[in-house]
């Protein structure tokens, strides 16, 4: 019944220098879901959100993204919605710390990413313990396209990723 190991690292990077954005391209279509894991911090502008664009061949820069979100910072809940946006917003309450001892933990699930009939639902969880904007947040995002995703670009909205930030992309294949 079981099909063997299926949580497969596709690509990983540890940023050697300050980096404004990072792109995974030519992502194989052989998996069912993708999981992106980011563990790192910002080079400047404490509190920058982390955002993402996806596409097929190149990233879609149109207003084809939307997000429904909720979170909390230990004293209050937070919520919101973004429609017809130019990117998915993985963090709105929490913001990247610039402290290497308080890295951001981000996990993103790109569900059924290779489908050519379904618009893409993207779930993300992000946590930030230190810095000016600590908290945790869960978001449901939509890329309103039926194209398969083979390109993912992720970047801080206001700043850059610091050297040492680790970004890994995994593929999960269903039986």
């Amino acid at each position: 019944m079981a099909a063997g190991s299926t949580y497969t690292p596709i690509a990983t990077t540890t940023l050697g220098t300050t980096t404004s954005s990072y792109t995974f391209s030519s992502i194989p279509s052989t998996y069912t879901d993708l999981v992106l894991v980011l563990y790192g911090y910002g080079a400047s502008s404490d509190g920058s959100s982390i955002i993402c664009r996806v596409g097929n061949g190149s990233t879609d820069t149109g207003n084809n993204y939307s997000t429904t979100r909720m979170g909390g910072n230990g004293s209050a809940s937070s919520y919101g919605r973004y429609t017809s946006a130019a990117f998915m917003r993985f963090a709105a309450l929490t913001g990247q710390s610039t402290s290497s001892s308080n890295p951001t933990s981000l996990v993103v699930n790109f569900m059924d990413y290779a489908s050519t009939t379904a618009k893409k639902t993207v779930l993300n969880q992000i946590s930030q313990l230190g810095g000016s904007y600590p908290g945790t947040e869960l978001n449901a995002n939509l890329w309103s396209s039926t194209s398969a995703i083979n390109t993912i670009e992720i970047y801080p909205y206001l700043a850059s990723f610091a050297a040492g930030t680790v970004i890994t992309l995994y593929g999960i294949a269903a039986a």
């Binding site: 190991s5 299926t6 894991v37 919520y79 009939t117 639902t121 779930l123 995002n141």
Partner: protein, 189 residues
């Protein structure tokens, strides 16, 4: 920092699990609309289970959502706590002694834009243990560019019996749409 697969994977499932210990067990993809989905004869050889779903229903009732039963148990042993937002104020609720695990996820239905699907990730922890009641966590929802819901949910299956089967229906009695997918994975300890 360097990538540590065990730590990285733990952020997905909540447990230390290297990628090589994550195995596909079975996948159900509906070729036509169906009233229910069953996953039976679940192997008892893993430490945890993860279920990853892509769901839409054919009905047009307000808000699609699943209800679940475990191991064919129809008694009043299901409890839940949930928090969610539809883009507005975060809502928390819970109840107990139900005959179903209610509200365990949210998905799209006939009122929502075409081709938009709900997605939910379920974690069934220590599912073979016969001395513990079972805690189940789900996380997911959907966004439809102006509507949608994000949800974090915990359910208790108030039995010490091992989880051997899962059964899903829509709470509004609508069918699951063709293309609905339930993919079950096992995580080794």
């Amino acid at each position: 920092m360097s990538p540590i697969p065990g730590i990285v994977a733990s952020q997905i499932s909540g447990h230390l699990a290297s990628p090589s210990s994550f195995e596909s067990i079975t996948t159900i993809t509906l070729g036509s609309a169906a009233a229910s989905v069953s996953i039976n004869s679940i192997p008892q050889t893993y430490t945890h289970l993860q279920l990853r779903t892509k769901v839409r229903e054919t009905g047009a009732t307000v808000g699609g959502q699943c209800q679940m039963r475990v191991s064919g148990d129809t008694s009043s042993v299901y409890t839940y706590h949930t928090m969610y937002s539809t883009g507005g104020l975060v809502t928390a609720e819970g109840s107990f002694n139900y005959t179903w695990a209610y509200g365990i996820e949210r998905h799209t239905n006939g009122n929502d834009p075409a081709n938009v699907w709900g997605a939910t990730i379920y974690d069934f922890l220590d599912y073979t243990n016969t001395s513990k009641k079972k805690t189940i966590r789900t996380y997911g929802g959907y966004d439809a560019n102006g509507s949608g819901q994000i949800r974090l949910h915990s359910a208790l299956y108030g039995s010490t019996g091992a989880i051997t089967a899962l059964y899903f229906e829509n709470q509004g009695a609508a069918n699951f749409a063709a293309g609905t997918q339930f993919a079950l994975y096992g995580i080794k300890g």
